[in-house]
């Protein structure tokens, strides 16, 4: 192992990805414009009609899901496209690279979800939340789970051809249990007070996050070596 140890390499990969993102602002710009475009389509189609809370919870997660699908696969694909993956393979070991990129994706998606939810609540007056803590916890857990699944599928897809179309196709069945649960949790946040109203959903989300990360930890090495 090179200097810095496990955490050091993880932090270095994270720093590298963050600074290259800050230099180009590719993902951030693309994701922000994606959000604005999609939100305006939703606004055009709703006009002034009122919709039930489940529709709001579902739409919010449709937005987050497709934002994740358009932004999160980049971390591995750019390495592959720029040819930097060979250098990265030479100078590091597999697992810390994965965790560095996972950390980057989680923080990117959390930032994006925060902006997106605030924008959504601002432009759609029907989005009324009774329990803000429930909403925050479910958004946080859902985002972490979605980013974890997207990262490992992104690593997988970087090796395949026809990446753009394949990415949502491969991710959707994997994240569907998460999406169904988190949409329920968001609906509960809009209907009931108290942060513990969605306790069962939190448990499912946490176990999903643990399961997907354990699997990713075990299989990433095989994708990386290939």
């Amino acid at each position: 192992m090179k200097k810095g140890g496990f955490l050091g390499v993880t932090a270095a990969v994270f720093r590298k990805d963050t600074s290259s993102e800050i230099r180009t602002r590719y993902a951030l710009n693309a994701l922000f414009l994606f959000t604005v475009t999609t939100l305006s389509i939703i606004l055009f189609s709703f006009q002034s009609s009122t919709v039930p809370v489940q529709v709001h919870a579902g739409l919010l997660w449709v937005l987050i899901f497709f934002a994740a699908m358009s932004g999160l696969s980049r971390t591995f694909i750019t390495e592959e496209d720029r040819g930097t993956i060979l250098l990265l393979k030479l100078s590091t070991i597999s697992t810390p690279v994965y965790y560095g990129k996972l950390l980057f994706n989680v923080l990117l998606l959390i930032a994006l979800t925060a902006i997106l939810t605030v924008l959504y609540a601002m432009v759609l007056p029907g989005f009324i939340v009774l329990s803000v803590p429930t909403l925050c916890i479910s958004l946080f857990l859902g985002t972490v789970g979605l980013a974890s699944a997207s990262t490992i599928i992104g690593a997988l897809i970087a090796k395949a051809n026809a990446r753009g179309t394949l990415y949502p196709v491969l991710s959707f069945p994997i994240v569907l249990p998460l999406l169904l649960t988190v949409i329920r949790a968001t609906t509960i946040a809009m209907e009931q007070e108290g942060w513990d109203a969605a306790m069962d959903e939190y448990r499912v989300l946490i176990s999903y996050i643990l399961a997907i990360n354990a699997a990713s930890y075990l299989v990433f090495e095989y994708i990386w070596k290939d």
């Binding site: 699944a149 997988l156 395949a160 051809n161 026809a162 491969l170 169904l180 069962d200 997907i212 354990a214």
Partner: protein
Amino acid sequence: MKVFQAILGFWLTAVILCAFLFPIVPEITRWYEFPVIPGLEQKARILFFHVPLAWTSVVGFVVSVIFAIRYLRTKKLDDDIRSSSAAGLGLLFCALTTITGSIWAKFSWGSFWNWDPRETSIFVLLLIYGAYFALRSSVQEDDKKATLAAVYAIIAGVTMPFLMFVMPRIIASLHPDPIINTQGKVSMNGTMLTVFLSSLAGFTGLYFWIYSLTVRLARLEFKRSSEGE
């Protein structure tokens, strides 16, 4: 193999005959009669075909994941052939489960598709199989294809229990279920249970018979294509 085929043929014929011909009566007096299940009546007979089909589609998935893990350990392409053949058959059984279930739902619940938790999970299994083969067809090199497919199968295998066991417990289901869902429990008598379990065993046998055939076929095709190069 010949003996196995003969036994399997005889076994499944017996199961199908029993499943269709044994009468369903309110009061059981003879050994070959099935009890009436409220709300299902004659429609209960689908139990002997639909549930074993669903079971085999999950067995196919599990076999595929097991050989995917073995492929990653051994890196022998034969394990990948086994894994993808199991998945291919699983896809076939999964499609049959969806079709039989959907026809039954039309007559029991009034519409072909209701997004019942079980319907959702079989639909997602169908999507996983579809994504698995889409991924395979997008990679040309054999060993790379095998590795990526194996990794995807394992990740999908980790999330599958959430759909199979967790979601139906959180979301209310209308599904009559003899194994998992205790609220919608189907009360079977001994005869019905025997026929049901025999059908389960028979369909599992059928799965492994077709599976061994497809593996042999896939091996031959692989041999021919590698000789052609």
